[in-house]
Symmetry: C2
Amino acid sequence: MSIVKRIMLLVILLLIIVSCKKSTDTSLKTINYKTDPLPSWNEGKTKKAILDFVTKVTDPDNPNFVRVEDRIATFDNDGNLWSEKPFYFQLAFALDRIHATASDHPEWKTTQPYKAAIEGNIKEVLTYGKHGLLKLVMASHTGMTTDEFNNIVTEWLATSKHPRFNRPYHTLIYQPMLELLDYLQTNDFKTFIVSGGGIDFLRVWAEEAYGIPEYQIVGSSLKTIFEYNNGKAVIKKLSEIDFINDKAGKPVGIHKHISKKPIFASGNSDGDLQMLQYAASNDKPSFMIYLHHTDAEREWAYDRESHVGRLDKGLDEAREKGWTVIDMKNDWKVVYPFQLQK
Amino acid sequence: MSIVKRIMLLVILLLIIVSCKKSTDTSLKTINYKTDPLPSWNEGKTKKAILDFVTKVTDPDNPNFVRVEDRIATFDNDGNLWSEKPFYFQLAFALDRIHATASDHPEWKTTQPYKAAIEGNIKEVLTYGKHGLLKLVMASHTGMTTDEFNNIVTEWLATSKHPRFNRPYHTLIYQPMLELLDYLQTNDFKTFIVSGGGIDFLRVWAEEAYGIPEYQIVGSSLKTIFEYNNGKAVIKKLSEIDFINDKAGKPVGIHKHISKKPIFASGNSDGDLQMLQYAASNDKPSFMIYLHHTDAEREWAYDRESHVGRLDKGLDEAREKGWTVIDMKNDWKVVYPFQLQK
């Protein structure tokens, strides 16, 4: 091989190194743009609306560009990131706990909604509304430290199964929403969960399930107290409601934990309406999206008449204001991750 | 130029490109390790203790390695990231507001600590303790939306000046602490402010001043309410205290907003003691650090007898438990950014 050829070879090798370098530099963002960031979503106006919004707010040359620090996205959890039927999964946890600890609380036998819960009368439990459910949830979570609570939830998730799908509850998360979260995160959105559910319950499993850090989870809470004894420091959960992160509480919770107004808000029930209104009032471009449960076969179909996850006023307002509404049956190729073809 | 020389030149150029590529790829982390990540800190046991801790918890081969998701660092603000003398800067803001709005609140003339505030009797104001100060701070922040409040704070920061340094208050932040925050962030720590001060006050300016996102700021708060009217959505600040993030409130605030126990906790007063105890009780390696104000010439010297930022029990406990104590006078080359040599 001549010296020229050797040098040429070296040049080619160096060019390969440089181009390899470039390809490892290519972020997921670029890859996602080129292929399909939402593979479990059918083509159509819903998917297009999402892609169009994210494209315009992340393009510095677009008049609708939004700075990275303002790309706040908020997601309801129950019925929006995971299922909520036949009733809220945290309620299933609470009922199991109430059964396990009923003997320590004789007063529950004569007070609603505890009485109905012990009797297993879910239909009656649900008539006490979301506040009643929260009471039940909260009451079954007290008298322990946050560490003890975490252990109880972890144990419950590992051992209990959803009655219809016979699978652990935290596997009933929505594959298309996981892709949406990932797509937003890849585009430098900070994604937050803003749930009516208990903040401590969510934080046990949601970081791993959704790739959302514990400190980006907002929810309802009990009051807690700090206890210190000889180097041992714990947070104890008191049996007093601190904050209910539902309806008009959601914008308050967002202000408390996030501070900025979201530019992207995703929910599925009337409990999310104020959160969507709050995002819609942003002086930056914003995107409001409702998940409409229309799929009785693969998941559930419910809206205006449902006790759990009622979507009535929200649906009207979404249609009136042109917010995006996901039609689960037609917009989603699969519902749960376990339905993905291997 | 011969073809060989031309090709050699091309090779050299490509090598330069490759090496340039490498140097732009090199993260700040690597640069910081090689040079000095804490240039405003004098060499000594304090600086060494910080570097040693960060080095060991970020080294996957070290038995004290801590996963990125658990690298939570919490910082007090007043007297820890910026000065707090002659009295809390937010109190200066509150007093200015109280003067500006006193005519709307005739009841303040006969009720403490408002009376003392209107009379400009700071010494008496301070005798009402941190709770009294918070009352004053909170009372002067109400009857407006959060957006209106943000504008008032922004305006105040732009126009008011610290009496000793004759500079805007938010320029009196500590250069060595900025470097410490940056060093931790570079090493994949999530840095949080955990302050007794008002969360809404802090969030107006702290994101820009410290490079800490608004949602990583924890502080005391007023209750708020969501108001919606025909597409206009606001959060209104009520004149009722929601949460006081001081002393035993700090671990509660950390649980509420961050969820995880910190592995790095930094404070300067007895109000931070429980936060440091909380971090010290972490089952992962943790680092507790107190800033001791020992520099009457460049800043202030105070500890056990001070009304503002008293450090008494905390100093004893730090010494007893071997926590790191910063000696401001001897450990810091400069105090404020404006003292840096250009």
